[in-house]
């Protein structure tokens, strides 16, 4: 009976005890997988690998050969058709960064940023001095736009979940509508959750 009582006290102490919080600073490029959901590591890996693939394909050399200059690219909408909330803005920024840093294409701002900058320029026409005012209708038009979607398939049973993400991107010639590159990056994650804890 005494042993049982001690055991019970221990059980209740464990029920009442919460784990204390610990904080650790991590390098941004550290691969982290906590919940198993789509995270910054997935976004970064997809952006790096897909842009690397995109810039090694013949459309780039073909364009430079015919136009005599680097193509101008913009990133359009990358739709989230998965079953998780994915911050499209972070994802798009990753693509833009990889494209710009590669140095093989010129890059213009995306639709939302263009809109904001245009408003700024229009305001300059009324409020800025003639010497500093920026011209309207002097934007660099993009030659190509990247559009895409992230999709996912989930299989789940008894605390084990397998999620398959597929990111499809397409580079489309804005003038001719010609698709010059289609890339796909797949990620498969297995997430298991213990049935019991103390």
């Amino acid at each position: 009976m005494k042993k049982l009582f001690i055991l019970m006290i221990l059980v209740l102490m464990i029920i009442g005890c919460g784990s204390s919080r610990q904080i650790e600073r991590l390098a941004p490029e550290t691969q982290t997988d906590i919940s198993g959901r789509w995270n910054d590591t997935d976004a970064r890996l997809v952006a790096e690998e897909m842009i690397d693939d995109c810039l090694r394909r013949p459309w780039l050399t073909d364009f430079v050969a015919s136009a005599g200059e680097k193509p101008v690219v913009t990133v359009g909408t990358i739709r989230n058709k998965s079953n998780e909330h994915i911050d499209a803005e972070t994802f798009t920024t990753d693509f833009e960064r990889e494209l710009i840093n590669a140095g093989q294409v010129r890059f213009v701002a995306g639709r939302d940023q263009r809109q904001e900058i245009r408003e700024e320029r229009f305001e300059q026409q009324d409020f800025a001095s003639r010497e500093t005012m920026k011209k309207i209708r002097a934007e660099t038009g993009a030659d190509f736009i990247i559009l895409g979607a992230i999709k996912s398939i989930t299989d789940e049973a008894e605390g084990v979940r397998v999620v398959y993400y597929q990111t499809d991107l397409e580079m489309i010639n804005i003038e001719t509508m010609e698709k010059v590159w289609i890339g796909t990056k797949k990620i498969k994650k297995g997430i298991s959750q213990g049935k019991t804890k103390w």
């Binding site: 009976m1 049982l4 009582f5 019970m8 006290i9 059980v11 209740l12 464990i14 029920i15 919460g18 919940s35 739709r79 989230n80 058709k81 998965s82 079953n83 998780e84 909330h85 499209a88 989930t154 789940e156 049973a157 008894e158 605390g159 959750q193 213990g194 049935k195 019991t196 804890k197 103390w198």
Partner: protein, 478 residues
């Protein structure tokens, strides 16, 4: 304390009774009973349309620890719903996401709490939400995203809702296997075999409706038609949930110059869990355990029985949760555009029917767990009292006191787990009206059965687009 310890641990009580009394002293009565009294002013404010006040009251209840840590799912869903009604979309999504994450995390069960629940009751377990609550967590987030024209994220929520429904049957089959395995492994527990009740719900009409309207708004008619057909199938294949006519929903206007204007109306409050008080009676000659009603109308009529070998004849009171609907005044919801009557909303989903169907599978498992515990506790109490009668060493008053303590301990410890969200709507109505694009003053009237207006929602200068999702939500929780 010395006197109490002497009483509890002198060895005169049967071991399990001393353990039970000690558990109660150490955990405190608050963990043993569902705290629901604080909901009364909150639901009153919601029904009066004072949504911000209801939000503040929920946050106060949280800060005053009326929601314990083990009940965090309930807090998150309650707060998420209250913020939704108060049109605070960001906070609503944040809380509902936390509710969904809590439900996921609580898939991992605490062994210590499970052990405590075997002796006390299910209130000591961490509450991971009923399946219908988790389903509506996703669907309310979908409504939040629709309100901000964020279709991608709204689609995420409808997909998650459908995925969860697909997993329901598997979940309860597994639960029955685990229960039976646990019974086989534990020689001390009363052996009652359990066969999983089939979950007959895998297609939710509200989820289908929302995704149908969003696909149609995006011009993806093939996908909209797929969801329309799935919505139809929900009504055909699940008549025990959808025992009324399917509403006349639309994904395309008949006149190409027109567009669809949709209204989602939420009325009343969802059912809640209430205690069904029962009494257990054993018959050792017949090897029978009878479960009897205790309410005056049905007193001593049988709720159920189990053929089990029992060594003693005794009674034991216990209770199990049951889903009880809350009446609503709302009988009809009329929609007007520029003072012109557009039509009446039609019932799409009875949240009570969904709650009943999904809870039914779990209820039989709760019932058997509770009966097993009641048989065990009843026997322990009976034997402890018999021992006191036999020993009579403490004198008449001492023996009476000990027996009274045994009764109090068993009474305090045996409570039904009544935790649930009390803020979900009772019924979901929809109406798809074909009108010309343009600006309209919209009025939605919630009427009782005598055609009295209970509440009204008015939106002035609402822009109905030719292409896009023209969907507004209105609610009266009366």
């Amino acid at each position: 304390m010395v006197v109490e310890n002497k009483i509890f641990f002198s060895g005169r009580f049967a071991g399990p009774m001393a353990l039970l009394l000690s558990f109660i002293l150490l955990t405190g009565c608050g963990s043993l009973k569902t705290n629901k009294k604080f909901y009364e002013p909150i639901t009153a404010e919601l029904q009066n349309g004072n949504y911000e006040t209801a939000v503040a009251q929920i946050e106060t209840a949280q800060s005053e620890k009326k929601y314990q840590k083990k009940d965090r799912f309930v807090y998150f869903i309650d707060a998420g719903l209250a913020y939704h009604y108060a049109a605070d979309i960001n906070n609503s999504n944040q809380k509902l996401t936390q509710a969904e994450n809590a439900a996921d995390d609580l898939f991992t069960k605490s062994i210590t709490r499970a052990a405590a629940s075997l002796l006390l009751n299910d209130n000591v377990l961490e509450y991971s939400g009923e399946d219908y609550e988790i389903l509506y967590t996703n669907l309310f987030m979908a409504l939040n995203y629709i309100a901000t024209n964020n279709f991608d994220d709204a689609f995420v929520e409808t997909k998650r809702a459908n995925e969860k429904l697909n997993l329901l049957e598997q979940k309860y089959r597994k639960a029955s296997d685990d229960y039976n395995q646990g019974i086989e492994d534990d020689t001390d527990v009363v052996k009652i075999n359990y066969e999983a009740k089939k979950v007959r719900f895998n297609n939710d009409s509200f989820a289908r409706y929302l995704s149908m309207r969003m696909y149609a708004a995006e011009g993806k008619l093939d996908d909209a038609i797929i969801d329309y057909n799935l919505l139809k199938r929900a009504f055909i294949e699940q008549p025990y949930i959808y025992n009324f006519d399917m509403p006349d929903v639309k994904y395309l206007p008949e006149n190409k110059d027109n567009t669809i204007f949709s209204v989602v109306g939420l009325a009343g409050l969802s059912p809640v869990k209430e205690a069904l008080d029962l009494r257990l009676r054993t018959d050792k000659d017949l090897n029978l355990v009878q479960i009897l009603y205790t309410d005056p109308e049905r007193q001593d009529s049988e709720y159920g029985h189990l053929a089990l070998p029992v060594s003693e004849d005794y009674y034991f009171k216990f209770s199990i949760p049951q889903i009880v609907s809350r009446p609503s005044f709302i009988d009809k919801i009329n929609v007007y555009a520029n003072s012109e009557y557009l039509g009446e909303l039609q019932l799409l989903e009875d949240v009570g029917a969904v709650a009943n169907e999904t809870f039914e599978a779990k209820k039989s498992l709760i019932y058997l767990r509770t009966v097993a515990r009641a048989i065990f506790k009843g026997l322990a109490a009976h034997k402890a009292k018999q021992k006191e009668d036999k020993d009579k060493k403490e004198g008449a008053f001492g023996n009476w006191l000990k027996k009274a303590l045994i009764d109090v301990a068993t009474d305090i410890s045996e409570n039904a787990d009544l935790r649930c969200s009390r803020l979900l709507p009772g019924k979901i109505y929809v109406g798809d009206f074909e009108i010309a694009p343009g600006n309209y003053n919209i009025r939605i009237e919630f009427l009782d059965k005598y055609s009295n207006i209970i509440s009204t929602k008015e939106i002035d200068d609402y822009k109905v687009l030719k292409n896009g999702l023209n969907l507004i939500e209105a609610f009266s929780l009366n």
